[in-house]
Amino acid sequence: MKLTALILTIGCVHAFAAGFSQEKINLNLKNAPLKNAINSIQRNSNYRFIYNDDILPKDKKITANFYDADLNDVLNFVFQSTMLTYKILENNLIVISSQQPVIITAVTGNVQLKNSSGNMSPHAGVSVIEKGTTNGTTTNESGAFTLNVKDVNATLVISFIGYKSQEVALNGRTSVNIILEEESKELESVVVTALGITRQKRSLSYAAQSLNNNDVTAGREVNITDELNGKVAGLNINKTNAGPGSSNRIVFRGNRSITGNNQPLLIVDGVRLDNDSKALSDVTYFGTRDNGDGISNINPDDIESVTVLTGASAAALYGSDASNGAIVITTKKGKTGKGIGVQVSSSAMFENPMIYPKLQNVYGQGDGGQFVDNSVDSWGPKMTGQQVTDWTGKTQSLTPQSNNFKDFFKTGSELINAIALSTGNEKSQTYFSYTNTLSKGIMPNNTFKRNNFNLRQTVQLTSKLSVDMKANYIVEDVQNRPFTGGGNHALVTLYSMPRSLRLSDIANYETLNDDGTLTQNYWAPPSPDNQNPYWSVYRNLYEKKRNRFIGLISLKYQITPELSIQGRSSIDYYTDNAEEKDYSGTYWLTDYPGQGNYIVDKESNQLFNNDVLLSYNKNLNDNFHLNINAGASIEQFRYERTIVNTQGLNAPNIFSLSNGVSLSPNINNYYPEAPLQKTEKQSVYASAELGFKNYLFLDLTGRNDWNSTLPVNNDSYFFPSAGLSAILSDMLKLPDFISMLKARASYAYVGNGTGYNQLKPSHVLVPGGNGGFLNLDRTLHNAELKPEQTRSFETGLELGLFNNRFHAEATYYKTNTRNQILTIGVPNPSGYAFRIINAGNIQNSGVELLMNATPVQTKDFKWNVNLTFGHNKNKVIALDSLETMPPLSSPETLGEIVVRQGGSYGEIYTSSFVRNDNGQIIVNDNGLPTIETDVTKHFAGNFNPDWTAGITNTFTYKAFSLSVLIDERKGGIIVSGTQALEVGNGVSELTLANRETPFVVPNSVKQDGSKNDVQVTAQDYWMHVGNAGGNPVGELFTYSATNIRMREATLTYALPTKVLGNAFIKGASISLVGRNLFFLKNNAYGFDPEAALGTGNNQGLEYTSVPSTRNYGVYVKLNF
């Protein structure tokens, strides 16, 4: 019996694509054996035959000439005058059997599908066939089937795509229960690759990691990239902590571009999606208003699968930007089946800060050891409960307010309710989902609401023409998303406010004056740097509303069984409408003569893509298989932004533009960029995959882009890739315990353009003077820019042992990025602040490891271990004419990222103490350390980790499953601006020493080399070396970023079908979910070293960020 799983698999795939239809058959044979006739029909149609070779009459020869004939006519002709009979099943399977006398016995049964995480569910359409016959049926929605067999000792063959087929000998039984196990994914799974082309994973010559819906929804995060941590090898994520739906910086295989984009492409259903976080990429420690990246808009529940392509080879066909890899998301489609499949899910997650700053609780408000009622510091007296008249005018006892930081935060919550409907017949399938997300951040007054609507319709219009349509509408409303750094006055104050300050006193944050203005209740003189934190969150309001429409229409025409053409059009359009309302009495609005301020910021982004793809897929002969894709596309991007600032308000707290003092487009003289930007990329591309005996594969791709952002002479660039993959286990005779051994290698060359309008100077008119000011462009442009190029090589091994109970995959890669388009600082006397150059050779090399093992597997219990590991080494081989690049950011004494030849990207240099040759600190006349402000004199470390790793243990016992993910980030540093702030204000625990007795700075000498005997007070010392001194000593505030954390734990109980019986509910599960639960190790001082100021390249610096949170909750899923 040559019933191979492969044929069945292919058959099902094709059947699904084409639907059940009366396909017309061509058959042209001359005196051919019957087997040839069957093969010919298989090749030229979507039908697949299941039969036993032995039953075919050897002497039967057929001469036929059918054109566009009916299948039954052809089959009747082919099988005439034989003892054979055939039966056409659903899914285009044709079962051939020899005619035999019939004794009918009814066998009933139930089939459960068991997925990799051990969850069991019934499924309609599982095929049950009496072995050796055409007799078969499929299961219904509850997994039940009834089959009349001809032989009480028959064997049933139960099969379903993606699951291991099973043969069950009846041995006289009339009732059977069968569990089908999911096929180990790494082996036979199909992977969605570039341009939406589906390929068998075995044929890929590069690393591709697949995640299913469960992998990205288990943790119930709004932004699915949060769930990739520890599950994907070679990934590095930094979170902005800007409340619900905030952005993540994702970097695969290290940073390639010094000042450009290092984040991967985001591809959804074959089309690029805008993933810009709309936050300033080059942030100083003021941080930025994170507005959520594109991927955070994708509803996790709609995701069918995610393929993570960490390397350039994998993404080469996507063209520009592919050097950073790609995240390829496939969303759900409707499924064929009876009735409507309904899934309802509901989750409630809660969050609290997982880590707090280490604050002292001994000394109260004041300076110099004295209580000072309007001081911002905690250099006051020891808090012993003494009575003092404080800033409120009341006489209260001076006592530690140990929780005045902690209690400011609320318990955040996130309620996600989703319903998904799926229905379809052979011709048309529909998927609809609606998801509502209601979330509250831990910062007071920070809320997040989102509604996602998704409609997907796939229709087989004719036997050859199919259409796939998607409409995705997202409405999002975020109130008061916090700044990611010091721009958030609430947090700057909160981190540094006096330790004796009662939160209950400052909660009353305003007084209404007779003239309608408000006065802020604040304990110190007005300051542009600090405010009452409650005032900041309730009186400096910021609302951002996003409307996003993602539409896709794709038409596919099957010209011949081998050749198809697809035309596709997609649009990703979104508008962001933001309003900032600052009430009168806001301290930092010094630029506005009026009281308060009002800013309207409207922005729209449109990514419009049109492409055609021609696909040719043919078995050349028994050995060779050829797959060719060729296409062309136009991608157009349009960005528009209008900002209107009232420059103050005439009547207080009436937020309308017509109440503005003087309308102006600027915010604090910050001019974003051109108000209208348009870019376009035109491309042609082709790929060819040649397979030999399904064990050796050669991959070739080529693409040419024409990019509007480059000079006309340099705007065209070609990039090729080549790869080879060999399934050694199929080619050679290997010991039995090796179930799979694969070797692969690939090489790719990809290019990239730059941003809009980077070639010419652009001077802009702005308000000011008596008729406007002209602001000259401060960037020296380069009219002859060349495209960036990245060369990438990778090679890997995949190994499966013991029937793939152990599976491992290792990849080594090396990429070199040249001609980088960099915007770098230049000596100001040149007349410019920046210039744009093509330069450098940045090399990244490293390894990625993936391992999956099932050490224990019994009938009821299964233990699965999944391990990921990524190590990257970066080297700056050349910077062209530069040996050291000017700092990436505007110069900061605390710490700067400096790129130098021979170094590695991400090196941070900080200010430091001036020391003599013996390492002793040299002090000034006042006994305070002398500070070296030139940061290039002190190398602090690199912000990139040496390696990252994650380990997931999944235990399944009957209907319970427990999954625990622990990940580690090893190496790297982070400089804490928060700590520099806190020591200056005397709130950090570090400042407890020597509070009451002046001391001599340890290990120090005077300038003349003599012993230092000048005493300093703790306050003068810490103010001098912290932020307050103006030149904070970064050396003191540098921490290792190494940490190990309990990233995710989920406990799931799936109701067994037995319990549900034939009830209305077909499946139900409930999960307890915990994310980011605690640190097993953290070397940073009271903060999460993975917190990022923004998604740009300026990493490794932390400043008064929202604390990272611990999330926990419950997730219920019901299927009807």
């Binding site: 062309a632 952002t709 802009v764 008596n770 602040a833």
Partner: protein, 509 residues
Amino acid sequence: MRTKFLIPIYILILACGCTKKFDDLNTDPTSFTSLTPAIIPQAFAKAEYQGIYGDPGIYELARALFPDYWCQFYADGGGAPSDRYVIVQDWIISQWNSVYTITVPTLKQVIAATEGTDVGENGIARIWDVYIWHYQTDFYGPVPYFHAGNGDLNIPYDSQQDIYHDLFKVLDTAVNELKTLDVSIKPYGDNDLIFHGDISKWLNFANTLRLRLAMRISYVEPDLAKQEAEKAVAAGVMTSNDDNAMMDVQTASPNGLSLMSPWEGFRMSASMESYLKGYTDPRLQLYYAPAVSDGEYHGLRNGLTATQLTDPLNKLDNTSNIGDKWNEGDAATNKLTVMYSSEAYFLRAEGAVNGWSMGGTAKDLYEDGIKTSMQQWNITDNTEINNYINGTSKPIALNDFLNSPAVANIPVAFAADAATQRQQIATQKWIALFPDGIEGWAELRRTGYPKLYPVANSDNPDVPKDSIMSRFTFLDYEYQTNGKAVQQTGIPLLNGPDKASTHVWWDVK
């Protein structure tokens, strides 16, 4: 059915052929790639406003936090380290890039675009260029000058001597250009925020600027100084408050000092208190505001530590803020100071003491300087002014935190000996210059006057607390980006180490 698929293919084929439109697509239609005649006035206006650091952000970082403290117009009530002589790199970088990446390139382009075609615009831009550059070199000493703004990446430093010599030449060129013009021509019109295109006022300003530059080099190149000073006075300098150079402000380009006045950084210095109270100077009430606590005027010693500032006497409520003229609400109307006519009289008075031909006696010019300053502040009662001019009272001792003795022992009444006269002229000029601390600091360095209290603490290891700051050191960012030029041309031209105690070229007294 098949034709449907041909449509997208057809579109693609059509589109692929036309990448020529890329150039248009990639150009922002709302911006300018070069200075067209229509936008030259707006460019010049920007150079004027940026040139005196008008905007609050840059006013604070370039003026208030450094020269204004170092000449003790204010003391800081919040403990800013710059008041203890610390050059905070993250702050001063803004001054450096404001000059070199905004003001200088803008003026350079305006001068190039008007060369030979718009004589008036060209001449005025050159005068303003001189004003910018003398500020710049006075801060640091040697700075990139001749090769600045050319787009080079290694920009050599030039000696202050060469720069000053060239500034005189540029003034010659500018004055010669303007002299040929009919005064009815109004270059830049109202876009000129200082004189609205009034050529005669620009000529007065240029001559006064020449006089200022001449006096600056009077100790290091006395002959050239005399020649230039006499040339300036002969050509006509500013003489009345109508000639004052004041810059228009408005909501979008406000007076930065006014907007910052509510902050804690602008307490009357103890030195000012000692002088103004000692002389019963009527400008005291105009320059500063009474302390909130007792309605009296109290100064603050410069250079206090945060701990010292906690003493009740030093608290904000007990010290005087900057005066009501700099009310936050008037930021869009209170004009910015560029140069006062009173300064011209004090410069001439010093020239007369030097024996130069200044069109008057030292005493008359000294007294005219005081009178002009008083009148500028609407103090018009001649008796009051004359009483002040003839006053013999001296600065007083203070009942402050450090029990400061009298800061100096000279009266207002003009002395007979040249040495005292010089001190008196410098002291009165210092009072009259308020709030232009850049000039105040420069003249403090050149003359050594007025006598000021030492700072209470210096956190700058190179500058002891009883010394004054002599210059800004070369910036860390310059060492990082233009290091070769700093090492090979900047430091050798300095005649000393790159320290804040090293004197600039003209500071030889």
